[in-house]
């Protein structure tokens, strides 16, 4: 008794905590948010290969089943989740991860808006504390099944009975038991075929066929539903789902046609933007029809200029589509076939007019073709359209510096850096070079140092850092940097030459001679190295 008196407070706290967490889990938390947030985290941080996409797919299964089990028409979230699942299942390019991220971000932000600040905070807390639910618990589902069957046995009234069969159908759907799902939904429909719940049961039944891989049945069921209830909210969703079933079946041409029909028949509906997007997406990724894809994306962007999907096609999807031409353009630059490179960059820009790296690539080709004015104008245009594209910035800096527009190179470099943290050593290297030309050695040090930090094998950065030290009369630091450059690139003639010059002025003539001789081995006929060697011979009065 005295034990209870002493410890009752602890028991009360434990009981309150259990009650709170039960209520919290049952009423407050949206469990699908944990899965969606985890999927987005994986898409952002971990998905590097197409195989990694599968892990995202498994996280979507439970939220999709939860969405379909609703009594009312499923929200647009279902479409986004299914799209994310489709891309995760059949992606061909790792860049398609951007599409998955778009869908997940759209659902999460819509849910956050709908649930309000406090619930969203609890969802985030839940995500931090608990892991996602990847599989549904079979024992739990079986317990639900038993309970529903028992309630069905003692229910006589039509409406509650229909509701119970509908719930049972959803339980079987989650158990992936198609025959039982079919039976339960058909009973729900039979009880009152004209009710809203019967329409939803028809929708869920068609969806069960799709889920079980019976695509033809699913398509015909969805199409019948759309015809029978043209005014119902589910009609357009059924049309969309029929197109999705065709896509999952692999009948891409028909799927695309169905998306186009939907967008044409219901131009103002909430599904028409995504239908146009899908028409373009399937055209490009599954039918290899770039022209049609561009046409549908243009329609989408013109009809819904503020739409998040339309912005996505402009900023991401078009660039993925253009990336093949862009890559070919850069390969042709390397092969010094500048005219063909320009042809490819033009094709890339035809698909994605805002593709900064293609514009900068075109600028490089113009520069090497000797048209500096054109090169500068293209570099400037590249910076206007995408200063956040690091490849474009690095190449624009290359053009500005080589066209002697050093102030512009520094201004653009600093502006790009103010917008985001650059991650490539070449960016800091080019900016450092521009500072060297302006004799701003302090800043040059800083940029070459950053460049080396990002890429410790970047020999040009060591060499130029050595030059910067030398200008500042930090002679031993300079010698060390030239040596570090040589350690990483034994055949780097300029670093050997600079080390030779350094030794020469430090009066270490024999060491200097060794470096100049090495330069002449790497680059025979290097006149300046020969001149230094001659001077050394004259001073020492013997062949070093």
């Amino acid at each position: 008794m005295s034990f209870l008196r002493n410890t009752y407070k602890i028991f009360v706290v434990i009981i309150l905590a259990v009650v709170f967490f039960t209520a919290y889990n049952v009423y407050l938390v949206d469990r699908s948010m944990v899965n969606l947030r985890t999927a987005l985290e994986k898409a952002t941080l971990e998905a590097k290969t197409i195989n990694d996409f599968n892990r995202i797919k498994s996280l979507l299964k439970v939220p999709i089943l939860k969405e379909i089990a609703r009594t009312d028409a499923p929200s647009k979230d279902l479409i986004y989740m299914e799209l994310a699942e489709n891309v995760a299942s059949s992606a061909k390019d790792t860049k398609q991860i951007e599409d998955i991220k778009l869908y997940l971000k759209t659902i999460i932000s819509a849910k956050e808006k709908e649930r309000g600040g406090f619930s969203s905070f609890l969802d985030k807390l839940n995500t931090a504390l608990f892991g996602p639910t990847v599989t549904l618990s079979m024992p739990e589902l079986e317990a639900k099944e038993k309970k529903l069957i028992a309630r069905i046995a003692r229910t006589k009234q039509k409406e509650p009975l229909q509701r119970l069969y509908y719930d049972l159908g959803n339980v079987y759907l989650q158990m992936s038991d198609l025959p039982k799902t079919e039976e339960a939904f058909l009973r729900a429909i039979d009880i009152d075929p004209t009710s809203d719940l019967a329409t939803k049961a028809k929708f869920n039944l068609a969806w069960s066929y799709k889920h079980a891989g019976e695509y033809d049945k699913a398509v015909s069921q969805f199409r019948d539903l759309a015809k029978e209830h043209p005014k119902n909210e589910l009609a357009i969703k059924s049309q969309y789902e029929a197109a999705d079933a065709l896509y999952k079946k692999g009948d891409y041409q028909q799927a695309k046609d169905s998306y186009v029909d939907l967008a044409g028949q219901h131009p103002g509906s909430s599904e028409s933007d995504i239908a146009l997007f899908q028409a373009g997406y399937v055209s490009y990724f599954n039918l290899n029809d770039t022209d049609s894809a561009v046409k549908y994306f243009s329609e989408l962007e013109n009809e819904f200029p503020q739409n998040v999907i339309a912005k996505h096609t402009k900023e991401k999807t078009r660039k993925i589509m253009a990336s093949e031409y862009n890559r070919a353009g850069y390969m042709l630059l390397r092969a010094k076939d500048y005219l063909k490179a320009i042809e490819n960059f033009d094709k890339a820009l035809g698909i994605a007019p805002d593709y900064g790296r293609s514009m900068a690539g075109k600028g490089l080709a113009s520069y090497w073709l000797g048209d500096k004015a054109e090169a500068l104008s293209q570099a400037r245009r590249a910076m206007e359209i995408s200063m956040d594209d690091e490849v474009a910035v690095i190449n624009a800096l290359f053009i500005f510096i080589n066209c002697k527009e050093i102030d512009e190179a520094i201004r653009v470099g600093e502006q790009a850096l103010a917008g985001k943290a650059m991650e490539r050593s070449e960016f800091y290297y080019n900016l450092g070079y521009a500072y060297v030309i302006k004799a701003n050695i302090d800043k040059a040090y800083r940029e070459f140092g950053r460049s080396i930090k990002l890429n410790p094998d970047f020999i040009f950065a060591y060499n130029n850092l050595g030059c910067s030290f030398w200008v500042e009369r930090k002679y031993s630091d300079a010698v060390n940097k030239f040596r570090e450059a040589i350690d990483r690139g034994e055949d780097y003639a300029e670093a050997h030459f600079n080390l030779g010059v350094a030794y020469f002025y430090l009066n270490q003539l024999e060491d200097a001679a060794k470096e100049f001789k090495r330069v002449l081995v790497i680059k025979p006929g290097y006149q300046e190295a020969q001149d230094f060697l001659d001077k050394i011979k004259e001073t020492l009065k013997y062949e070093p």
């Binding site: 990336s323 862009n326 890559r327 850069y330 390969m331 630059l333 390397r334 790296r357 490089l364 490849v391 690095i394 190449n395 800096l397 290359f398 510096i401 080589n402 991650e423 490539r424 050593s425 070449e426 290297y429 080019n430 070079y433 521009a434 060297v436 302006k438 004799a439 701003n440 050695i441 302090d442 990002l454 890429n455 410790p456 094998d457 040009f460 060499n463 130029n464 030059c467 030398w470 200008v471 500042e472 009369r473 930090k474 002679y475 300079a478 300029e494 030459f497 600079n498 010059v501 350094a502 020469f504 002025y505 300046e528």
Partner: protein, 72 residues
């Protein structure tokens, strides 16, 4: 018993610290080495730095490596 608990806690804390540090390092993985075949060596001729101080002797004879361009 109490001693054992603290030893376990200490081991767990060390293990967690090692995990956190190693995963933070992994995230800072270096980007792949870029092809920089656009390199150009150019003459470099500062007689003085931006503050007007005289540059190191022979600075004008050093070879600064030129800007680079990159592919994707």
């Amino acid at each position: 018993m109490k001693k054992g608990f603290w030893i376990l806690m200490l081991v767990a804390m060390v293990a967690i610290s090692v995990y956190i540090i190693s995963s933070a390092r992994a995230k800072q993985a270096m980007p792949p080495r870029e092809d920089v075949s656009g390199k150009e060596a150019s003459a470099f001729s500062p007689k003085e730095d931006a503050l007007g101080k005289p540059a190191g002797k022979g600075s004008e004879q050093l070879k600064v490596s030129g800007p680079v361009w990159v592919e994707e």
